[in-house]
């Protein structure tokens, strides 16, 4: 699904990622861990197509050259990124934003836009599933949301947009245990043969609910170690220094 080869990424003329390789197949869940400032968020932003990032190398998604596509074109192709700090847009209702996003994607793909009734049905269903308070729909996007509400809103957007490649940047940070469960429930509901994930996290606790297929350690802009779920446990027990020095 996603093939990254020899990727270099710059942010503000600084080299953040160099020579990174990553191969994500359909249905796989990849977890990227690493110390702060090692380039984890940059990697996701580069895949999603942020203005900030300048990328060089090969990045193929279903045989499409991702680097030639704008962020919204990538989203339309089925790439979704949840933000570590979801951005506030005052005066724009969450529900309006969501509907605009969904219909823009549908129209770009040559599909019909969803009617209000069908759209609301879909939203209701997902909200019940995630146990999200309905009041967020009418509130300005992320404005005055609690940390938990912001993250749940990201998961709601993810579920409604039905992407194929999902990038989650610290979706679990700052969540209480109930919110974490609900977020994990949302993630697992999309897991399947067609959907892949790249998840950034600092903690193993999310992975107890969302068991990964692969765990990678990013250091100085490179994947320095890959393994399975046990690597995350090992990290939690020993810390980065020990784990990395043992390689």
């Amino acid at each position: 699904m996603l093939k990254i080869k020899n990727l270099d990424v710059q942010i503000a003329d600084k080299d953040v990622i160099h020579g990174l390789d990553l191969d994500v197949k359909a249905g796989e869940v990849h977890v990227v861990m690493g110390l702060n400032g090692t380039g984890k968020s940059t990697l996701l932003k580069a895949i999603a197509g942020s203005y900030e990032t300048k990328s060089k190398g090969i990045m193929e998604y279903f045989d499409k050259d991702l680097l030639s596509l704008s962020a919204n074109e990538r989203a339309t192709e089925g790439i979704f990124m949840s933000f570590q700090n979801p951005i506030e847009i005052p005066g724009v209702n969450t529900i309006y934003f969501l509907r605009t996003a969904l219909n823009e994607q549908r129209i770009s793909r040559g599909e019909k836009s969803l009617s209000s009734v069908d759209f609301m049905k879909r939203v209701q269903e997902k909200m019940n599933f995630l146990e999200i308070d309905k009041s967020i729909l009418q509130r300005s996007l992320n404005v005055g949301f609690s940390g938990g509400e912001k993250k749940k809103s990201e998961i709601l957007q993810m579920m409604i947009l039905e992407p194929r490649l999902i990038l989650l940047d610290e979706i679990d940070s700052g969540l209480d245990i109930d919110a974490l469960k609900s977020v994990a429930k949302g993630i697992n509901s999309l897991r399947g043969k067609q959907t892949s994930f790249i998840i950034i996290t600092h903690y193993n606790r999310l992975l107890e609910y969302v068991p990964p297929d692969f765990v990678h350690i990013l250091d100085h802009g490179k994947i320095v170690k890959s393994g399975n779920a046990s690597l995350a446990k090992e990290l939690e027990e020993k810390g980065y220094e020990d784990v990395l020095s043992s390689t």
Binding site: S50, Y51, N72, P90, A101
Partner: protein, 476 residues
């Protein structure tokens, strides 16, 4: 950020076309003879001519104001033609120059039969003479007078003499005084006691003839217990020379009356270097004469090279209320110095100012507001919110709030914010599949929501479209 969209905003001004019709134009310059010429052309009564001449004498002794945060080359007032009119005299729509009608159609002015169904009465000002007034008869049945100011001067001289310059005195300011001397046409409306005007009244202004400054004069009077909503929309053809526009609008509400005045201003803004474009130096003021009366200004300003405009309310009647809701966008090299004045004179008077300034490209946007509470205005209240949104890094926003409180029981609040459309906001929206342009439009509409909500429904739809159009490609 993507650069390609930068080109879109530079595309031709969408309402910029010029109509080729014969005009009856005064020679360039301004003197007593020209004013007499204007007055004669319009077959005005003697008192009107004398009034104009008095204004002219006053104007000669005044200086052009220089305090506004705008810059432009000196205006040569002797190089302007102060009168131009479509040549034919018009009795019915059939006689109207087909080209004019075509212009109206392209502007979407609802003058034809099918538009009547939309429930809009239009006093269309083409250059300086009203071509056609629709709906007047229907309105007259309710006692509502809706006609050109020229007609009103002839047909309702008592009302005009009583209220003209009662809100904006002849010598109020340089541009208002010039207008008093040379105004060529405009709108007059009178709503009689306890009548709620059943439809939105509208006027389209359109500047057309080469080098003709345009000096509209509008006077709206809402008698006791009446209500009227008035919509004003503007656009102008593309042109290289700067064109001076100095309108005066006066609103008067008597006891328990309400006037809602909404404006969409979309005049030619000039190019990205600041060349061409309309100079819009306007005096708009309302007077809440009676108790419990209300005047509400809503404006969406997207056009003009320079905007100098402060729709204001004089709150004379006890318990009267003034409102000002404004969205002002400056893009390209546009400059705006705009805001409001709320003068509290009566007891328990209240006012609200919500101003949203948006600057993009090389635009400069200044909010200038005055809240004045006089000693006799016990328990007056004002709430002012003044927000600026910056797009890109070459634009500017300034805020000049003046507050002058002379009564200790007053409550005055002022809130101001400045924010920027960030790359992060755009990326967030794009990562959800929303294009950059749509994202800007979304963010701007969200920013302006409180003001757009004040516009009459159809006007709001138009305003939203205009906002998107104006800001297309402003991020580069």
């Amino acid at each position: 950020m993507s650069v390609e969209v930068d080109n879109i905003i530079k595309q031709e001004y969408k309402l910029g076309f010029e109509t080729d019709i014969q005009i009856d134009q005064a020679p360039l310059g301004l003197n007593r003879d020209i004013i007499t010429f204007i007055s004669e052309k319009k077959s005005e009564p003697q008192w009107m001519l004398e009034w104009r001449l008095k204004a002219y004498e006053k104007w000669l002794k005044m200086d052009e104001p220089a305090w506004a945060h705008v810059h432009y080359p000196p205006i040569n007032y002797q190089n302007i033609s102060y009168f131009s009119a479509p040549k034919k005299n018009i009795a019915s729509l059939d006689e109207v120059d087909p080209q004019i009608l075509d212009t109206y159609r392209r502007l979407g002015i609802p003058i034809e039969e099918q538009k009547i169904l939309a429930g809009v009465a239009v006093d269309a000002v083409f250059d300086s003479v009203s071509v056609k007034t629709t709906f007047s008869e229907t309105l007259l049945e309710l006692g509502i007078i809706f006609c050109s100011i020229s007609e009103a001067i002839k047909d309702y001289p008592e009302l005009v003499q009583k209220y003209l310059a009662s809100v904006v005195p002849m010598g109020d300011n340089y541009f208002a005084c010039l207008n008093s001397a040379v105004f060529t046409d405009g709108t007059f409306a009178y709503i009689p006691k306890n009548v709620t005007c059943p439809m939105e009244l509208s006027t389209y202004f359109r500047i057309n003839a080469l080098n003709s400054g345009q000096f509209e004069r509008t006077l709206i009077i809402a008698d006791e217990g009446s209500y009227v909503s008035y919509n004003e929309g503007c656009s102008a053809p593309i042109r290289d020379e700067n064109q001076l526009h100095a309108a005066v609008v006066e609103l008067i509400t008597l006891k328990d009356a309400e006037i809602k005045y909404s404006t969409i201003q979309n005049w030619y803004p000039g190019d990205s270097e600041g060349k061409g474009g309309i100079y819009n130096f306007v005096t708009k003021r309302g007077k809440c004469l009676g108790e419990h009366s209300k005047i509400s200004w809503t404006q969406v300003e997207t056009g003009a090279a320079i905007t100098w405009k402060y729709p204001s309310c004089i709150l004379l009647g006890d318990n009267s209320r003034g409102e000002f809701y404004s969205v002002a966008i400056t893009s390209l090299a546009q400059q705006a110095d705009t805001g409001s004045k709320m003068i509290h004179l009566g007891k328990n008077t209240s006012s609200t100012i919500i101003s949203k300034g948006i600057s993009a490209m090389k635009g400069s946007n200044a909010y200038r507001g005055l809240v004045k509470i006089r000693p006799q205005a016990a328990n007056a209240r004002n709430f002012t919110q003044c927000d600026s949104l910056l797009i890109g890094s070459d634009c500017a926003a300034h805020t000049y709030p003046y507050i002058d409180v002379k009564n200790p029981s007053a409550q005055v609040e002022h809130e101001a914010t400045t924010s920027k459309i960030s790359d992060e906001q755009l990326f967030y929206a794009q990562a959800r599949g929303i294009s950059e342009e749509q994202a800007i439009s979304l963010i701007v509409n969200g920013f302006c929501k409180d003001v757009l909500n004040q516009l009459p429904m159809e006007f709001a739809v138009e305003a939203k479209a205009l906002l998107s159009l104006t800001l297309e490609g402003s991020v580069g």
